[in-house]
């Protein structure tokens, strides 16, 4: 599998400096945390994405993000890329992020597009979880 330099760099930076790349977790029970967990171990990828939000005006803003991913290199790179996109966005803005934006940012090969789809699913789920709490 020939990956783009972008995928390789993103992957390596993420695993080498996890704390700089929002790797981690919060207690999903916290009021201001929304958690999304997608994928399955048997399929070879599982992503857990968490957003920490704050009400600002009449919308909610994603102040911080944490994630962990089990999966191939491009799955890890895709979730890390998504995290960068999310910080500071309102939920409305986050909801319209498309998997194609992640795939393009990383030059994912066609066979790895499903990794970006999974990342998109994880943000949907995390937002849903957060919204169920407010």
């Amino acid at each position: 599998m020939a990956y783009s330099k972008k995928v390789i760099d993103k992957f390596e930076n993420t695993i080498n400096e996890p704390h700089k790349h929002s790797v981690g977790r919060w207690d999903p029970k916290e009021e201001d945390v929304g958690t999304g967990m997608v994928g399955a171990p048997a399929c070879g990828d599982v992503m857990r994405l968490q957003i920490k939000c704050k009400e600002r005006g009449n919308s909610h803003v994603i102040e911080d993000v944490k994630f962990k991913t089990y999966g191939c290199g491009s799955a890890i790179a895709s979730s890390s890329e998504l995290v960068d996109m999310l910080k500071g966005k309102t939920l409305e803005e986050a909801k319209v992020i498309k998997n194609s934006e992640i795939a393009e940012a990383l030059d994912l090969p066609p066979i790895k597009i499903h990794c970006s789809v999974l990342a998109e699913d994880s943000i949907r789920q995390a937002i849903e979880d957060y919204e169920s709490k407010i």
């Binding site: 695993i15 080498n16 996890p18 048997a42 070879g44 599982v46 290199g73 890890i76």
Partner: protein
């Protein structure tokens, strides 16, 4: 130490420099370039002599008669010729073939093709260590069985089947026994005078010879007949036509000759490196060795690192050349069918890495790889949500995962 480090010797091996020297002398106008089939001049005679010398060297490694060695383009062709050739020649005797679920694709796909042509194939399950017991073979033999085809050493996990005992059963029943030994030469001793094997496939490039050349052993006593799959010219006793590639054949001959002379010492050395490697890995939490540890060829280690996906580990081990049973490294996006047939859960198959040590592997390379593996496993677990869950004591089988 040079990077990257090659630890994929089960996939292919570099040509030994001594083999390359011999090959070079059989190509150009200054060398022995003639067509071995030319009977009318010395160019042909000399080439034929080189081919026959190589045939003798191959036959010597496996202790058979030179007339029992048929050159092919590799083990894939040898498997095709053996399986299809026997099925078609003996179809009036029966239409049932026995093989296993963990054979190489050259065998499985040949059998699938025969199924489309009306043959019936039984695919045996290995035990959890990857071995096919003689008893399981015995149980599925019918009076329509004409062929049993099983591998000697499995290419993914390196376990060694008991082909001696299986041969006793097939010979007694008058069933032809084909063995794919592509991974065996130079790794374990093969004595065809003792084994009751009728057909055996060989490959040069797994034993420090060139790619594109292999051989099929076709027993003369008892005599096994085959229907040729490639026609034209009647080379190789009519069983495999096509001009013989002298340079590749002498390469295979020299490679097998070296294997014959150096196998004992080399196996000791490689086993030492492999054991050192495994000893350095086995204390890591949630690491599993796939396949039987005792009945295993030196050099092979197939290891599952639980809660880490294999392709990401390969990416983290960027200066180490290894392969994985992970779906992400296969074209089909399915995890290894071999590991699944062993009964491994999909997630453990996704997490597997095959390390294969060989002739040019050094102690220093093993040390370096060990450091890198330990470090990468730690990093990838740090980022794995499954590792968190494992550490929290959550039973992952109890979770309803959304399939993607």
């Amino acid at each position: 130490m040079k990077l990257p480090i090659y630890l994929d010797y089960a996939s292919t091996t570099p040509v030994d420099p001594r083999v390359l020297e011999v090959m070079k002398n059989h190509l150009s106008v200054e060398g022995n370039f003639g067509n071995p089939a030319s009977r009318s001049h010395s160019f042909g005679w000399k080439a034929e002599e080189a081919v026959e010398d190589a045939r003798f060297k191959v036959a010597s490694l496996v202790n058979c008669d030179t007339r029992e060695i048929i050159w092919t383009s590799g083990a894939t062709e040898a498997d095709n010729l053996a399986i299809k050739g026997v099925a078609k020649f003996y179809k009036s005797k029966g239409n049932h073939i026995i093989t296993s679920k963990i054979e190489h694709k050259a065998v499985l796909d040949s059998c699938r093709q025969l199924e489309r042509e009306g043959f019936e194939v039984t695919y045996l399950d290995p035990d959890e260590n990857g071995l096919i017991s003689p008893d399981t073979v015995k149980k599925v033999i019918t009076d329509r069985t004409i062929l049993v085809s099983l591998m000697h050493i499995n290419n993914e996990i390196g376990v060694i089947n008991d082909i001696k005992s299986i041969g006793e059963i097939t010979r007694e029943k008058g069933i032809i026994f084909h063995v794919d030994a592509a991974q065996s030469t130079g790794k374990v001793k093969i004595d065809l005078a003792d084994l009751k094997v009728d057909l055996m496939s060989f490959s040069a490039h797994k034993t420090y010879g060139p790619k594109g050349i292999g051989a099929l052993y076709v027993s003369r006593k008892p005599r096994v007949r085959l229907e040729a799959q490639i026609h034209g010219g009647g080379h190789e006793r009519g069983m495999r036509s096509g001009t013989l590639p002298t340079h590749q054949i002498v390469g295979m001959g020299e490679a097998f000759h070296i294997a014959n002379q150096e196998m004992e010492l080399e196996v000791e050395r490689i086993k030492g490196l492999r054991d050192k490697f495994w000893n350095g890995l086995k204390d890591i939490e949630e690491v599993y060795l796939n396949g039987d540890l005792e009945q295993r060829a030196a050099g092979f280690l197939n290891v599952s690192f639980n809660y880490i996906e294999g392709e990401s580990l390969i990416m983290a081990l960027k200066d180490i050349a290894v392969s994985s049973g992970s779906a992400c490294t296969s074209a089909s996006l399915e995890p290894s069918y071999v590991l699944r047939a062993l009964g491994l859960k999909d997630e453990l198959a996704h997490s597997s890495i095959r390390f294969a040590v060989g002739r040019f592997t050094t102690d220093e390379e093993i040390d370096h790889t060990l450091d890198l593996v330990r470090d990468s496993v730690e990093k990838l677990r740090e980022i794995s949500p499954l590792w968190d869950m494992y550490k929290d004591g959550i039973d992952m089988d109890s979770i309803e995962w959304a399939a993607n």
